[in-house]
């Protein structure tokens, strides 16, 4: 894997400063960092810890406790494919296979250029329009293979 894109430490310092004096600073601070950077770079954990008066091991504990917080760099576009039962029986499996092939990624992997991260989820709560997938904040229902083509053309173009 190539190195992750460099992290803008000043940007992170600014976020830390914005939150550090609030009453429960850690969660909003790390969530904001993840929103901006895509993940919480481990090398910034000591800085966060110092600002909030915790040990680095404690901040790491909070970050690794929450499933939605990541400590590894992730792609700019996080692609989630549903493999819940409804999606599965209505062609979700083929869609996942096609996307894996197209991106060259397995479940949980991030592309070398940090464009894409592929994940699967167990049900998106939209079984009525199954099969479903999301790219970043965009939701795509009633998917089929040709729609997959379009989605990726769009996000590539």
């Amino acid at each position: 894997m190539v190195n992750a894109p460099p992290v803008d430490i000043n940007q992170i310092k600014k976020i830390i400063n914005d939150y550090k004096d609030s009453q429960w600073p850690v969660m909003p601070m790390v969530e904001h960092i993840q929103d901006e950077i895509g993940y919480i770079p481990p090398q910034t954990i000591p800085m966060i810890a110092k600002a909030v008066g915790l040990f680095p091991s404690q901040v790491q504990s909070i970050v690794t406790f929450h499933d939605q917080l990541y400590t590894e760099p992730r792609g700019k576009n996080v692609v989630r494919v549903c493999r819940g039962t409804a999606c599965h029986v209505r062609g979700g499996k083929a869609i996942l296979k096609s996307i894996k092939g197209r991106l060259g990624l397995e479940d949980g992997q991030t592309s070398e250029d940090f464009e894409y991260t592929l994940e699967t989820v167990s049900c998106m709560g939209m079984c009525a329009v199954a099969p479903n997938m999301t790219v970043g904040k965009n939701i795509y229902g009633n998917m089929n293979l040709s729609k997959v083509d379009k989605v990726f053309k769009k996000s590539e173009g």
Partner: protein, 820 residues
């Protein structure tokens, strides 16, 4: 407050409000099994083993976190409780490896005991394989987290008790485990190998490495640690005649459940293969093994001969701050009554005389008089010239707890960055040897800004005017003024100081300057003088008009002292100017040394007496608080050794003047009868300080200031603890800290080999480029794995206290070998 009454297993019992069910049950002698509970830790209710049923409503409650409430009907053994408890234990065992039979936790494993107690029988659940690598690199602690039951005791011990923060949970659910930051091995983390978590872990998930092949302890003896002036209460785990585990005493003591790495390694020293196992006599230039009878006879003959030829003043005795109070007392009597001279001194002078002098001239007590609990309850703490992380670990724990969990403010006065820097609210970095001026400035700020109750001060103390007049020459910078405000306004303020203050020229004046601060603000009960060796405080006695230890060296050179008895001390390493000391000692007509090891000093002796360790004898040490710690015999003296007290009695007998004691308890009784209590006398007196600024005397040839610092892994005069194979394995190199700017000027990089030299000696060390010391200075530990920084110092005596000034000297620095 009304007591609360509940029914416990059908019995009416009452307890204080706020008590948990578990606490009350324990008080009533009712046993409830626990895994995650410990009296020293915040209860978290994680394991649920301690379930009890409230039969009023059928609730199952974790007794360790549930407070008692009026009317509760608690059963600790109801059918439902038993069923649930069994299920919980079975679930734990389902994910536990089948290694009980070979696990070194053996019969000390709480999980195993609980499983047996609740009668688990077959496990029934499908087993979950859980392979976790075993960490093996550091010599102190190994972890096998497949045995972890996620009780978080280690995490709480680490964060709440020793405040290191090396570990916390990582991930959650099935993947959860206690981990370091970055999940790196302990040796790459902040861990100090204090062993506190090891002692608390209920399973074999965290174990000390020293004992791996020795099984589990079958017996325990409580005693007092001998590896610094903190005097921790420790428990020695025995298997046969070996000490195989060292844990904090369950009875509290100054350390309250904690420990440090030196304490956990004491067993290495006691069972070291290098121990002397018989006395030795010099025969035709060589030291040869001898019987006790011959050795004692030869020593006595030597003393008698010198006394006959040159008179009693040609004899001298050096005792040690690692000897017990009883042994020091016996040596005093031996010197006066048997040898007939006043020439006795102890190495304790080197560490303690300055504090004694300063305290005696101000608040009139023989040592600081406050205990560690008081320190932890302070709301403002000043630490000056001390690095308790290394020199007095349990003091550092207490300070960090006060800051982190009780909101105490920490004022750190130290030219270097230390482990306390990140905890400090104010860090003042004065130049070396200028502490007295800084403290004087703070006193001035307190007086000038009216931060004191002047009327009471005038009424209750002596010499306030003298102090006031003396303060005019000081100024205080903004940080010092801020610090003065904090200190003066505190409800309860403490000052902790160490060798960074006392081993400079005029050290006693610096200590007086800080005592003045305490008297001004009526905070004299918060004075903490850290001690270096285990019995510095107890071993120190006012000189009896005889020569002090370092003066004795001069007297040997002059030919006035011709024979010496040295007990438990290794002056060649422990005194400044090793080369000169060695030369002087070899001039003696008869040198008798009692030691556990063949030290540099023993090597040049005429008679070497093999002595026993602290674990092989009874007696007492007095720690830095003034607390008397008792030694209990854990094992018989290692073959061929005798406790020092026994040796002294034998020597007296052979000299023809037996002393009237048969065992050590009779000595303790006599001391108690003589001493009574150290008591205060009269009002406190201010001691105006006549401060002289240190001149910058570095020169072209020796342009750097060398600073000697404490090191966690090699403290004291090093003689004894250096025989721990684990500590040696961990730090076998001498490191010198060099400021970044100096390093780049001299083209020195991390890992380069450098030579440090003074007019009297030199040593080589590995460079560690650092941003935590000021430019122009370099720092090495006072005690080195391979010797002592003392080779670099000459014997400069402090005029007032006759102690040595082995804190700083001027040195040259050059690169010898580049690191690749």
């Amino acid at each position: 407050m009304q007591p609360i009454t509940i029914s416990l297993n059908g019995r009416e019992v009452s307890g204080k409000q706020g008590m948990t069910i578990l606490e009350l049950a324990r008080e009533m002698g009712v046993d409830i099994p626990t895994l995650c509970d410990d009296p020293n830790l915040t209860p978290i209710g994680a394991c649920r083993i301690c379930l009890v049923e409230n039969e009023q409503n059928g609730d199952l409650l974790a007794s360790c976190v549930t407070p008692i409430e009026t009317g509760m009907v608690i059963s600790t053994q109801s059918e439902r409780v038993i069923v649930h408890r069994k299920t919980i234990v079975k679930l734990m065992l389902a994910s536990h490896p089948d290694s009980c039979l070979v696990c070194n936790k053996g019969n000390t494993c709480t999980l195993r005991r609980v499983a047996t107690d609740v009668g688990v029988g077959m496990i029934e659940f499908e087993r979950i394989a859980d392979a976790v690598e075993i960490e093996q690199l550091n010599p102190f602690i190994e972890r096998d987290l497949s045995k972890c039951v996620l009780c978080a005791k280690c995490i709480r011990a680490d964060q709440e008790l020793v405040v290191v923060g090396a570990i916390d949970y990582f991930n959650r659910g099935f993947d959860a485990k206690p981990a370091t930051f970055g999940d790196v091995p302990l040796e790459q983390s902040e861990c100090t190998f204090c062993g506190t978590c090891v002692a608390m872990c209920p399973t074999g998930a965290i174990m000390d490495r020293g004992r791996s092949y020795h099984g589990t302890a079958s017996d325990e003896v409580e005693t007092t640690c001998a590896y610094c002036g903190c005097g921790c209460s420790i428990s020695l785990g025995l298997k046969g005649d070996r000490i195989i585990a060292i844990t904090p005493s369950k009875k509290g003591g100054p350390n309250n459940g904690t420990l440090c790495v030196r304490g956990t390694c004491a067993s290495d020293v006691i069972h070291s293969a290098d121990r002397l196992t018989q006395p030795m006599l010099r025969q035709e230039e060589e030291l040869a093994p001898a019987s006790w009878l011959d050795a004692i006879e030869a020593a006595a003959e030597g003393f008698k001969r010198v006394k006959g030829l040159h008179g009693p003043e040609a004899l001298a005795v050096i005792s040690s701050s690692t000897c017990t109070n009883e042994e020091n007392y016996l040596l005093q009597r031996f010197t006066r009554d048997v040898l007939g001279t006043n020439n006795i001194d102890s190495s304790a002078r080197l560490h303690n005389a300055v504090n004694r002098a300063a305290l005696a001239s101000t608040i009139g007590i023989m040592g600081a008089n406050s205990d560690l609990d008081g320190l932890e309850q302070s709301d403002v703490i000043i630490v000056v010239g001390a690095d308790p992380d290394a020199s007095a670990p349990i003091v550092s724990y207490a300070i960090k707890r006060a800051v982190k969990y009780c909101g105490a403010k920490l004022i750190l006065i130290d030219p270097r960055e230390t482990g306390l820097s990140t905890f400090a609210d104010i860090h003042i970095r004065p130049d070396y040897g200028t502490d007295a001026a800084l403290l004087g400035g703070m006193a001035k700020a307190i007086v000038d800004e009216g931060l004191l109750d002047e009327k009471t001060v005038v009424e209750k103390t002596n010499n306030y005017d003298g102090l006031k007049a003396s303060l005019s020459k000081y100024t205080a910078g903004s940080a010092a003024i801020e610090a003065a405000h904090l200190y003066a306004k505190a409800n309860s303020a403490s000052i902790v100081w160490g060798t960074g203050l006392t081993q400079h020229a005029g050290g006693a004046d610096s200590v007086r300057a800080l005592i003045n601060l305490a008297i001004l603000t009526n905070q004299t009960s918060g004075l903490y003088a850290l001690e270096k060796e285990c019995n510095d405080r107890g071993a120190f006695t006012e000189p009896l008009q005889g020569f002090s230890a370092l003066e004795m060296i001069e007297q040997i050179e002059k030919g006035a002292i011709k024979s010496m008895l040295i007990v438990g001390e290794n002056p060649i390493l422990a005194f400044p100017d090793s080369g000169r000391v060695e030369k002087a000692l070899s001039l003696l007509e008869c040198l008798v040394v009692s030691d556990m090891f063949l030290t540099e000093t023993a090597l040049i002796a005429d008679v070497v007496l093999s002595s026993s360790s602290f674990a092989e004898k009874e007696g007492t040490y007095t720690n830095f608080e003034g607390r008397v710690g008792k030694l209990n015999t854990a094992i018989d003296p290692i073959a061929g050794s005798l406790p020092d007290w026994n040796i002294i009695l034998k020597l007296a007998e052979a000299m023809g003047s037996p002393m009237p004691f048969d065992d050590i308890n009779q000595v303790s009784d006599e001391i108690t009868a003589l001493v009574g209590n150290e008591s205060k006398s009269g009002p406190a007196s201010f001691a105006p300080v006549d401060y002289v600024a240190p001149s910058d005397d570095t020169n072209k040839e020796y342009p750097f200031k060398l600073l000697t610092v404490s090191d966690l892994y090699s403290l004291g005069s090093g003689t004894s603890i250096s025989h721990s194979y684990r500590l040696n394995k961990y730090t076998s190199e001498v490191y010198v800290e060099i400021a970044e700017e100096d390093a780049s000027k001299l083209d020195i990089k991390d890992g380069d080999q450098v030579k440090i030299a003074t007019p009297v000696g030199e040593l080589t060390a590995i460079a560690k480029v650092s941003d935590s010391i000021p430019t122009g200075t370099i720092a090495i530990p006072q005690t080195l794995p391979t010797g002592s920084a003392n080779v670099l110092f000459d014997i400069t005596l402090d005029n007032e206290t006759k102690t040595s000034l082995a804190k700083t000297c001027n040195v040259s620095l050059e690169k010898v070998v580049s690191n690749g």
